[in-house]
Amino acid sequence: MRIYKSRYIPFLLLLPAVIIVCGFTIPFMVGVYYSLLKYNLIYAHLRKFAGFYNYIRMFRDSAFWYFLYFTGLYTLLCVGIELLLGLAIALLLNKEVKGIRFFRTLIVFPLILPPVLSALIWKMMMAPDAGVINHLLKSIHLPQLVWLGSKNIVTFSLALIDTWIFTPFVALILLAGLQGLPVTCYEAATVDGASGWVMFKEITLPLLTPYIWICVLFRGVQSLKMFDVIYTATTGGPGFITTNLHIRVYYNMFRWHNVGLAFSYSIILVIIVWLFSRIVIWRWLKSVRAKRGA
């Protein structure tokens, strides 16, 4: 319904935002352009247009496929663990016991710290000799690990840090979902004689699906492009073990000064993130419609 007679006012109100948003698509186009150049800052005078040279070189490099694999692995690990743990914590926080509000407030802490700071804290705690984690493990006679230095467990350690930071996010979203669940469904199910586990599987989980997709969207995208935590904790890992695509972009540009290659990695990452977000948003919308229908 038209509230305002003037047609131009809403257009004017929206215009600055549109200008800024469209303005920021320029860096992307610049990026695409640079990815088509053979351009190294050290040999700047040799810069020339080379079409898909960088992309072909990238796809032929087996290291690229490892970085792609690690990006996917890190995302899968983080999102998977955080969904499970976050759901458990949300169920826990849903209980109306005395003092529950205190705990619900408390879990926000790790979420609002700068991820760089959190990664630094964990890096300190994970130090082999002076770190408090190994110290505590030693005192209960468990083996001590080289958390961030061993190629076998460094990925797990990074996932642990990510879990510590972001599980509260999942827990809070799912808790909001749990608190919105209709009580009548459960009462009817109890009358019909359903057990707790059946109620969880047939009622709770389907009704939580939109919220789960929200978590997958935000955490998935953030994990695919994770930079802060990895850079701070391992700067790409012992060797290149924990280097994902985003980190690799940084090193291509500022370590090897290969501008063209840096941008081709960057564009590939943008495409992956964009595809992922489109698919997950589509699934989310579908689950919201399904829920409304039910």
Binding site: P27, Y34, V116, I121, V270
Partner: protein
């Protein structure tokens, strides 16, 4: 269904135990870190780590006065105070600008129908999801050419990528919550556009605007990549400055801990302000709590 008193208390105990374990897991690192900020450098890296020690505030003194407490000749001098104020200026300005641009835009998105509306909304979302370097690296090249490199203004411009989408999406949701009838009855009573906006809609959406602004500030404050790429000694942000305590020869752990504790304070203060709306803000308005 009656449970015996004994069964009931075990379940309750179990719940509390789990809660305490989760709380411990989430809070212990912060506690340990704060503890470390009161240790001397020697105690901080002691093997085995010390739980009992004589506390000192030298780290805070050193961080706040810009003198690094060191014993070697080559020291990494970190100007914490400057990075703190850089972050403060950049984040506040960026959020202020994105409020001025974003709130009216959010209102239009909430109230008006036009063909490209959802396309625009998703373009804004895609911008927020973009990897930092994909936006930052081209800007690095552009900034070096245009002289915006290592300037606070340059950072304020880039931080719009973080702040504007958040504000547009979250505030839009709060505007949509206000029933149209409220504005329509104000119009019928003779109010014009400006009065309806400022006297009716804005106050009603105020909690959402505050939530969005605070969250945008927190995300800007916590940002790392843009400060890393687009700033140097002049306009370095706090998050980048934190890593400055890691030098080539040695790491000043205790001082870094003190700096870290200080950098936590603004975000913690702000977060307590928007407690109740935090879930709705974090999920971009998708989840209404």
């Amino acid at each position: 269904m009656k449970k015996s008193a004994k069964q009931f208390s075990f379940k309750l105990l179990g719940i509390y135990i789990c809660l305490v374990l989760v709380a411990l897991f989430l809070i212990f690192p912060i506690f340990w870190f704060t503890l470390m900020s009161f240790k001397t450098e020697k105690d901080a890296i002691a093997i085995p780590p010390k739980f009992v020690f004589t506390p000192t505030i030298n780290n805070y003194k050193g961080v706040l006065t810009g003198e690094t407490v060191s014993t070697t000749r080559a020291t990494t001098k970190v100007d914490f105070i400057q990075t703190f104020f850089n972050s403060l200026i950049v984040c506040s300005s960026a959020v202020a600008i994105s409020l001025v641009i974003g709130v009216p835009a959010a209102y239009v998105l909430a109230r008006f129908k036009f063909r490209a509306k959802e396309d625009l909304a998703f373009l804004v979302l895609t911008l927020w999801f973009a990897p930092g370097l994909s936006v930052g690296l081209p800007l690095y090249l552009i900034y070096r050419i245009t002289g915006l490199y290592d300037k606070l203004v340059g950072l304020i411009i880039v931080y719009q990528v973080i702040a504007l989408p958040l504000i547009m999406w979250v505030v839009r949701g709060y505007f949509e919550d206000i029933p149209r009838e409220v504005e329509e009855s104000a119009r019928i009573d003779g109010a014009n556009l400006w009065t309806a906006l400022t006297k009716i809609s804005l106050p009603l959406a105020a909690p959402g605007i505050v939530t969005a602004a605070v969250l945008a500030f927190i995300f800007c404050w916590n940002n790392f990549v843009f400060g890393l790429i687009l700033a140097s000694s002049n306009s370095k942000t706090l998050t980048v400055g934190l890593l400055g305590f890691i030098g080539y020869e040695r790491v000043l752990w205790a001082q870094m801990a003190a700096a870290g504790v200080l950098s936590m304070i603004p975000v913690l203060l702000f977060a307590t302000l928007i407690q109740r709306h935090i879930v709705r803000g974090l999920s971009f308005g998708a989840v209404k709590s």
